[in-house]
Symmetry: C2
């Protein structure tokens, strides 16, 4: 069974994906040490045959597809949350709504090295990974049934990673998730009343006020969001208005790689190297006249979210959706800025 | 700082509560064994002076307030997420919205015994705890500034519990959380088009179809929700339409206690004794003519949610709000029903 279902009482959508249950279900979080030797990691160099055939790779000129010699490799997710071949009619009208679990779920294997963590990547390496993000988003949006592409990266067991080998997931969804739709709607409402981009206005305000600014780069600005969900959350925005990450130039990606490494360094220093999620928010697919690309281009502003797992969501969060953040974002920003004070500690990685 | 803030881009609300940061911030989840001896637990009998003075207690006739001799004790939360004395004007209009963190946050200490877990309570004991829920909800709604009362219970470190001593939290909020407002709106829309209660219609449909029914009791029905967020999720509904839990009779609470223990037994057996959250969804405060109690009484239907922490939310959930559930709710229901097949295993507790 692979289905998208809507809760009839609360309205939220859930992906029900039994394909994923062939991965062991962990009903408790085992406090295992994360690197596990000996076990055959499907993402390691030499084990290419254990994944579905690659859809894209950065590899040396002499090497063959699905064989060693790559530095980044994208494959369909073997335990896909959504499936390209899911079909059937949506169940509508009879109280319960569900649609077939159509979608595309891929894995970008970021390195042939098992032990690499994101903070160990050089700027050049990370820029290559970002170029893979760009390429996969473009490719997935070519399928007109895909309405939103979510890129996310889980690092650490408690952030939801099930394999420690560094990788990013790409999920092409047949619907625009409520959270993204809310962003679109809020941005459109602001545009209508104020004739400008909401995100651009916020960046301007935050840069003027300074207290939630983590750093101000040439092309990017890192902020502790006003309503941060957790201590240490960072949002990284391009300063110049742009609705689609996937339209970024190589130059922009190189700069972005350096700034993501700067965010990561700050977060690790200031919040004790937490497990974290990296989330890319880019524009959903436009839909003809009802939801034109032109309007989206004016109102939407892509960004990255770093969400360190510094709190444990409990009954309050699950029941009401309200997050409880015990550290004011202004204090988080101060701690993050302090962690960056000694430039020597992070600028080394960023130069490479 | 105690404030409710709205994210300007996505629209979600967050409680920023620095009072809570005097509790140590855990940036990693330490894999500690949960019962800790030796340490002075503020909820244990004999340590009453370490909590703020009690607001209500069930205690022996000879005992004094804030002294030993109680079986259930409700106190203000010392590390309150929201505060009765928070004031100030809401910051509105200038892109960023925040309101003062006014609210009431209490703890119901369920037992003088440190080690008790919910599944060890007798039916009578649990009915007494439910009576405390009823009493606290009624009391908090007497304050006209409280618009919603959330009752929640976290059991296990990974479910967000910071003290293992059994307790429930009561949070009176100055706003109706989006999730609850969405339930109100969906129920009202159904009422308008179908002239009936949405929840009653769903219960009827599920009982007819059977595949997601965990059990059918005299007064209550337990279901694996159609769009369950996690494997093993259970929703427990009163069969008779009732919008407010706090209007339950003693008889109903006694029956409810037995049925909650039945849910808990099923969840523990079928899903390997997971950490879990128990969440009570009851009607928000009515607001004059715009949102009359009479309409709420017709449309809202209270229920309990058991959310076992059988998955780890990752970047997908944080980015899009979409939960990924690897077990079909129909399979969960089957496992839960099987766990209840041998009545002898749980009926003992329920009789007491």
């Amino acid at each position: 069974l692979t289905q998208l279902r809507q809760d009839p009482l609360a309205g939220h959508w859930v992906i029900v994906s039994e394909d994923r249950s062939s991965r062991p279900i962990r009903t408790k979080a085992p406090p295992r040490s994360e690197p596990r030797g000996g076990w055959l990691c499907p993402f390691c160099e030499g084990n290419e045959s254990t994944t579905p055939p690659e859809v894209e790779a950065k590899r040396s000129a002499r090497s063959e597809p699905n064989a060693p010699g790559w530095s980044i490799r994208t494959v369909p997710n073997k335990f896909a949350a959504l499936r390209p071949d899911a079909s059937g009619d949506p169940a509508k009208g009879d109280l319960l709504e569900a649609v077939p679990g159509f979608g595309i779920h891929e894995v970008i294997i970021e390195s042939p090295q098992h032990q690499a963590q994101m903070n160990q990547f050089s700027r050049t390496k990370l820029a290559d990974i970002l170029a893979a993000y760009r390429s996969r988003i473009r490719s997935l949006y070519e399928d007109k049934r895909i309405r939103y592409v979510q890129i996310f990266r889980n690092e650490g067991y408690l952030a939801g990673a099930s394999l420690e080998h560094p990788h990013t997931q790409v999920l092409g969804l047949p619907l625009v998730p409520d959270v993204i739709q809310a962003m679109v709607n809020r941005a459109a409402a602001h545009q209508e009343s104020k004739r400008g981009c909401l995100t651009c206005a916020i960046i301007k305000r935050e840069l003027a006020q300074k207290e939630r600014v983590v750093f101000e780069g040439k092309r990017f600005v890192a902020l502790a969001p006003f309503a941060s969900r957790v201590p240490g959350e960072i949002a990284l925005f391009p300063r110049e208005h742009q609705h689609r990450f996937e339209e970024s130039s190589d130059d922009a990606l190189s700069e972005l790689a350096a700034e993501l490494l700067r965010c990561l360094h700050a977060m690790r220093q200031a919040f004790d190297n937490p497990p974290f999620n990296l989330i890319l928010i880019t524009a959903p697919r436009a839909e003809g006249k009802a939801f034109p690309e032109k309007q989206l281009a004016r109102t939407f502003h892509w960004h990255f979210q770093f969400v360190p797992r510094t709190t444990r969501p409990a009954g309050l969060e699950l029941g009401t959706g309200l997050n409880l953040n015990p550290v004011a974002p202004e204090s988080s920003a101060r701690r993050l800025r302090e962690a960056l004070r000694d430039r020597a500690t992070w600028a080394g990685t960023v130069k490479r």
